[in-house]
């Protein structure tokens, strides 16, 4: 990905297992932020769940080449539901 040109470290992982390993390794090394493409993030829910409540690393799903799939948005409303009990943004999502 083009992020390499910007000075980010890029790790390649094409399947869930490799992605899980890579994230665990990066987390152990003290990486603060990990961006994961949504396509991969969908395959590794357990890994994401594990780091969700710890301060670091922040694992952030981003849309990959094929565009946004709404995975991160679903995550967001899941968060809202967890905290509030109901999704208070339902009406705004209909836009």
């Amino acid at each position: 990905m083009g992020f390499k040109a910007l000075g980010l470290t890029v790790e390649y992982a094409y399947d869930a297992e490799k992605a899980g390993f890579a994230i665990h390794r990066l987390a152990r090394e003290g990486t603060a932020v990990i961006f994961v493409t949504e396509a991969l993030a969908e395959q590794i829910p357990e890994t994401l769940e594990r780091y969700k409540s710890s301060m670091l690393p922040a694992i952030i799903p981003i849309p990959g080449n094929e565009g946004s799939r709404g995975f991160a948005m679903a995550n967001l409303s899941q968060n809202v539901e967890k905290a509030v009990g109901v999704n208070i943004f339902v009406n705004e999502e209909g836009e």
Binding site: A5, L6, V33, I62, P63, L76
Partner: protein, 214 residues
């Protein structure tokens, strides 16, 4: 009505009363904490939504540029072009305390920058699409880091709110009513004991009076 298994004694009663007081205070505090966290959370989550929408749109167009660049260039040439970045970006992390939840505060720092150009390759031999793609990614990057911070904060707050809400509910619907019921039970029992001993004394007294009188 759920009465705890306790001996109906005065000591037990006073200790239960103390516990009830603590529980009520704790309940009030936790409830305030929950309300305040909820307020913050709603703010953060709104920001999160906004940022995410922006970032996703920008990133998508940047990546589309990148795909164009990849299509118009030889893969090997593209990879060599971006193989050696001119700069290295790091993240500085600070802790911030939001309602006793430690959330990270992220700051992007450029660790070093080799030369004036932000493109790690010569303009010859690469397509213009690549330049555009990288410029676009560069613009998104700062927002991306901000998004990371906000999203992590939202995640952690949601977790903490859930925990706090459980505690509040446990106190409100289990602990406090149980304690109140038990206190009532002990009070009743003690009163009952007192009444029964009183009547016993009266009875004994009247029996004694009867015997002595005869």
């Amino acid at each position: 009505m759920a009465v705890m298994r306790v001996n109906p004694t005065r000591i037990e009663l006073s200790s239960l009363k103390k516990r009830l007081k603590t529980a009520t205070q704790g309940h009030k505090l936790l409830k305030d904490k929950r309300d305040e966290m909820m307020r913050r959370f709603v703010e953060v989550v709104r920001q999160n939504r906004q940022l995410r929408i922006e970032v996703e749109a920008e990133l998508e167009s940047a990546l589309a540029d990148f795909v164009m660049a990849r299509a118009s260039m030889d893969t090997a040439a593209l990879e060599t072009a971006i193989l050696m970045p001119t700069r290295q970006i790091g993240i500085e992390v600070h802790r911030r305390n939001v309602m006793s939840v430690n959330v990270p505060e992220l700051e992007m720092v450029e660790e070093h920058h080799d030369d004036t150009s932000s493109y790690p390759y010569g303009l010859l031999g690469t397509s213009g699409d690549l330049d555009e793609a990288i410029a676009a990614l560069d613009r998104v990057l700062a927002k991306l880091v901000q998004l990371a911070e906000v999203e992590k904060t939202a995640n952690m707050l949601a977790d903490e709110i859930e925990k706090t809400r459980r505690r509040v509910n446990a106190l409100e619907y289990v602990m406090i009513p149980d304690l109140q019921d038990t206190i009532r039970y002990i009070t009743m029992k003690l009163d009952e004991n007192e009444r029964s001993s009183l009547t016993r004394l009266m009875k004994v007294k009247s029996m004694l009076a009867e015997r002595d009188g005869v």
